[in-house]
């Protein structure tokens, strides 16, 4: 089964990378862009298991390694079983 994990900076954490991308988009004429936040997406191949069990695994992986809870939030979804 396959899961996607999204790691994003918490609200209020300054994201200079996002700001640089936003400025570049403005330079290209996409002036409607009001804010950009850059995060990470991880595609994880898991051995088949119950959805509930997979979610427990994913949450634990995020808390232990994939996200830094001081500055980041995470969410995950199971995209195929």
């Amino acid at each position: 089964m396959k899961a996607k994990v999204y790691i994003t900076l918490k609200d209020g954490i300054h994201d200079p990378q996002g700001r640089a991308v936003q400025q570049s988009l403005h330079t290209l004429g996409f002036e409607a862009v009001q804010d950009v936040r850059v995060g990470k997406c991880l595609e994880i191949e898991l051995q088949d298991m119950e959805k509930e069990a997979a979610e427990i695994f994913l949450k634990s992986m995020c808390q232990k390694l994939l996200a830094n809870m001081v500055i980041e939030d995470f969410r995950y979804e199971i995209v195929s079983t």
Binding site: I13, H14, P16, L65, L66, N68, V70, I71
Partner: protein, 236 residues
Amino acid sequence: MNIGIIVFPGSNCDRDCAHVVSAVMGQSAHLIWHQDKSVQGMDAIILPGGFSYGDYLRTGSIARFSPIMEAIIEFANRGGLVLGICNGFQILLEAGLLPGAMLRNTGLSFICEDAYVRVENADTPFSNQCEAGQVLNLPIAHAEGNYYTDPVTLSALQANAQIVFRYCDKEGKCTTASNPNGSIDNIAGIRNAQGNVLGLMPHPERCAEAIFNNQDGHCIFDSMLAALRGHTPLPA
């Protein structure tokens, strides 16, 4: 004294630290591979700078789970002196031995230059040979040195004198202009609540001997030695 310097894949200041410990300070430097599981016999530990695991995922996040880290956490919890320099500081944050986290530098660039830092607390095992308010000129070299912590933790750091070094100008004034990377409260280095673990972004090992025309980093290693000499040996 026996000083252990941890070598992670991607560490690149390990030998510089070993040189300072042995050739400059006259102590025994022991390079310890990250797969080792013991720091037995060491009086202090240095986590050197570099790019452990290529900075993948987040700086220090993978090194933090190297086998040696369990021994280092245990060593720190028993009161052993642990100094984290640059990437070593980032690893200490990820390991939870120090509070907070590192963000990308505000200006996005990798910064490689000399920076002035002010000694905020000269009563620590890493700064007892400095004077409070002393301005040191130390090289920095990092892309993720923008220290961040939540307001509650920041207040605690300030209240407990855990902020040991802050970026400043030549005169010792901590201003926005003298903050190279956007760190909250101009923080360049902090210690833990117990006082035996210090992380700092500047590289004292790169300016600790006469040949560099700058020996400002020497006082940090001197302080560690002074602390160790007055220190009761750790229980085995």
